[in-house]
Assembly symmetry: C2
Homo-oligomer: 424 residues x 2
């Protein structure tokens, strides 16, 4: 029996066990600040595998030393990072398997068919907030690692399994892991790429725009200026900026099949505080895609120019400029060279398992890959089983067969990259 068959068989015999573990992890609603219980489950599993397991509370003072940090909170007490290391025997090529444990909120729970944290399996899909983004992905890399251990294979290089906090709201977890000294020659991140391979990942920034109006009684509303109406002017200009910024990416082979390669998503719009008063304030919050190859500073400058130009569209903004604060998610773009050997390995192993060519593309969202690449100097590739469109979505699910296939391809790729130690 060859290696590929052994790996598949090993995975097949433990499928129920893996599904149950994923269910348990999904049943922990690990939104920002609430990662502890889910992390405990991961740490316990890694310990049982015999790995060196490192569990620590990120230190916000230390994080603040990095220019890549955007503070969301001062206290990480219930948000430990977990890293398990499978030490290589011969100083071979090393690899990080990075994935975030935090999930976005469930939104309107009444819209979910089942409880958002049910973990129910129906027709081969496992449901729950985080199933696709990205607990199902984390499970695929964990299965890959566990399978290598189960098969008694010893590798030349280290495999570092990182279960990090707070990707969805800032990237503090991965940054803390970099600061703690975790380095490798390549990082794989099983974000929900639908088994596409992303050697380029766009960056992502969160903006928070403040728009001014003038308050008045609703009965004499003509004496005020409705901040919601002014906010709508800003909304439209943001959409025009998105069009402008996406034009050049139409030429990029990694992005040209994507309707909006670097989207600007307006996720929140809030104006006013009382039905019968004219709103004097409105805020617009959203995420801003940073193109691979673009710096965060360049992206921010273009955004600021758009705001500065508002006064040429509506003179109101001349004396009442819309202002922006950058906070929360602050992920630089990441990736690896297109001739990186790990990219070739992944493509080959994908073909071996799937009997078809892998799709190579660029991510439409920011990931911790940008931090690994820019703050950690570690090239990064996204390859995960989740359904992109289900991320942050009602009735989020992961297809279990894709999770197991991803695990198989990942195990084969790890072995090829880190190589089996001579003494095996």
């Amino acid at each position: 029996m060859n290696l590929k068959q052994s790996i598949r068989e090993s995975i097949n015999t433990k499928k129920e066990d893996y599904i149950q573990l994923l269910q348990k992890i999904i049943q922990q609603p690990s939104t920002t600040g609430n990662e502890l219980e889910a992390q405990n489950l991961v740490a316990e599993r890694l310990k049982n595998l015999g790995l060196d397991v490192d569990v620590w509370i990120p230190d916000s003072e230390k994080l603040k030393e990095s220019t890549f940090f955007n503070p969301r909170r001062d206290n990480y007490e219930d948000s430990p990072n977990v890293v398990g290391t499978l030490k290589g025997k011969e100083n071979g090529r090393s690899l990080i398997l990075n994935g975030h444990i935090d999930v976005v909120p469930a939104g309107d729970e009444s819209k979910w068919t089942n409880n958002p944290y049910s973990g129910k399996v129906i027709d081969g899909k496992l449901y729950g907030r985080g199933a696709t983004d990205m607990k199902g992905g984390n499970m695929s890399t964990l299965i890959a690692l566990e399978t290598i251990i189960d098969l008694g294979l010893e590798l030349k290089g280290d495999v570092i399994y990182e279960s990090v906090i707070e990707e969805e709201t800032g990237g503090a977890g991965t940054l803390a892991a970099i600061q703690r000294g975790y380095k490798a020659d390549i990082a794989l991140i099983p974000e929900p790429s639908e088994m596409k391979i992303f050697p380029k990942q766009q960056g992502s920034l969160w903006f928070d725009i403040s728009v001014k109006g003038v308050s008045a009684h609703g009965g004499t509303r003509y004496e005020g200026v409705n901040a919601i109406e002014k906010g709508w002017v800003v909304f439209q200009e943001i959409m025009n900026l998105e069009k402008k910024r996406n034009k050049p990416l139409r030429e990029d082979p990694l992005y040209r099949d994507n309707p909006i390669p670097i989207p600007i998503n307006i996720g929140q719009f809030n104006g006013g505080y009382f039905p019968s008063a004219v709103p004097e304030d409105a805020t617009i919050q959203g995420r801003y895609g940073v193109a691979p190859g673009e710096t965060i500073e360049e992206a921010k400058e273009e955004f600021q120019s758009m705001l500065d130009n508002l006064k040429s569209i509506d003179e109101w903004f001349d004396l009442h400029p819309a202002t922006v604060k950058w906070g929360g998610i602050h992920l630089p773009p990441g990736g690896c060279d297109l001739d990186h050997p790990m990219l070739e390995i992944l493509k080959t192993k994908y073909f071996e398992v799937e009997q078809e060519e892998a799709i190579i593309a660029g991510s439409t969202w920011g990931t911790d890959g940008g931090l690994l690449t820019q703050a950690g100097g570690i090239p990064s590739i996204i390859f995960g089983p989740g359904t992109t469109s289900m991320a942050h979505y009602t009735d989020e699910y992961v297809e279990l067969e894709k999770m197991f296939k991803t695990a198989e391809i990942t195990a084969l790729s790890i072995i090829e990259w880190c190589e089996i130690a001579e003494k095996n």
Copy 2:
């Protein structure tokens, strides 16, 4: 010395006392649910005047019996109504002086020059939330009543002084006073009319519209439908409805000088819950003016037609209709006949004091007058000192001279209406 001179002199000698009382009342931030302390001050003053004072907690079960009630809460424990009655001696024409003690929230307190509840007097203006809407108005009617008592005048008809709760958020206070049996031949309400006389008052309804989108990850936002964008379609149609509804009022002599006689104010717009998710919900809240002579039902029907028509503008609304709930403020239009004798008295007394013709107009906002007229069968007239544009506004103030002039005109009008008892 004639009556007019006596009244003016009596007011003049007590100006400082009245200003101090108004300051104390304004220093109590009597937003909905927090009316108790301000009401205690009013009740104490009325008792000191020797009136029969009735202080009671409105009963939400009783309120629910009325079709005019729109419940905001179940418990009125810290929100008593206060009514003081000056009994007439000879069953003459009676009069209610109605005013609400509740104020709207201060909004962004940092924008206020002084604390929003300072009660500071600068250049003849007394500042603070509620100064114009309508604690300054309530003070003008209290001064009128107190002056009549100070002068030892006994009247033929009853004067009922009502300090009611919750006008700003529903009208429960006035409705409770009607249910408790307080009736009169006419009601005066010193809402901030800038000393204009309003024999017609428009009604006011609060709407709460729900708009649907489809959630998605911000990175693939093209897979979702942004509820904020759909909300903007609704926003524009509301503004078109406002134009349509205001056209006929351009012919009405009471309203033709007003830029928007029956305004629709959009006071709140909220969509989304996370910067990097496509918003699946948006809500639009505001107040909807009801024309004098229009029923609440007719006004609601026209609003619903506008919502039903959205699908002809954007087919999204065909399968995802915007829905409306009516709640909070629910004030029918009110007023009196244009040949009502009290209207004539007010005009005459205004001319006697001000030496110019009073302006007769229609209110641009709903008041408790609608409830008095429609639920209580009591014709109502608005006449108050406050500056309309300062209601619900930062740095709200009342001009003290206007407050005292209004008190003088009101005292003369009360005496003419209720008549001095024979035995005086």
